[in-house]
Amino acid sequence: EAGVAQSPRYKIIEKRQSVAFWCNPISGHATLYWYQQILGQGPKLLIQFQNNGVVDDSQLPKDRFSAERLKGVDSTLKIQPAKLEDSAVYLCASSSIRDTGEGGYTFGSGTRLTVV
């Protein structure tokens, strides 16, 4: 079974530029999550999708962050304009309520963003 795919793996941008990350979840997983992990901290949920609908985006800085999940499969997360404090690893994960092993969660390998 293929895992959760993310790209790019690394990105360096200047502040005020825009950036986009892509995630392809495990086939059949209805729920998709974007987490932000700042160095030295645990991951923090930015947004959760159920199919192509948003379940929770309460911690998404909506003035600069946006995310979509078209057709309930792939998802993109965009930051525009980026700030220095957005430097972090962005983790995508997917889950299925039918999966009971490993908490039903599978993480992608993440995208490390550095804003200079």
């Binding site: 729920t31 999550y33 987490y35 030295g40 901290q41 645990g42 991951p43 923090k44 949920l45 959760q48 159920q50 379940v55 929770d56 690893v89 983790l91 889950s95 309520i97 092993g101 490993e102 908490g103 039903g104 969660y105 993480f107 992608g108 390998s109 993440g110 490390r112």
Partner: protein, 112 residues
Amino acid sequence: EDKVVQSPLSLVVHEGDTVTLNCSYEVTNFRSLLWYKQEKKAPTFLFMLTSSGIEKKSGRLSSILDKKELFSILNITATQTGDSAVYLCAVGPKAAGNKLTFGGGTRVLVKP
């Protein structure tokens, strides 16, 4: 607001030592507690705990949950340099959707 606190923040041990990592939580509608190992970017799954007092083991790692006192511990015996990593604790709600709330992690460094 759900809260997960891990301690210690970091520790340094020598190969062969035993380490105990702590995770305390305050969440509404608790469903499960998960432990992850994070070496580079992606967290890798270690354990999922849902019932109190039942120890889960995998090789030199073990974990147990106390739902009355709202904490879990992760033990690593006979540590090896490959155990060096950040260990993350996360809790999930009872409702479907499995949103996880993570603690800040414990960074473990095992020296030869």
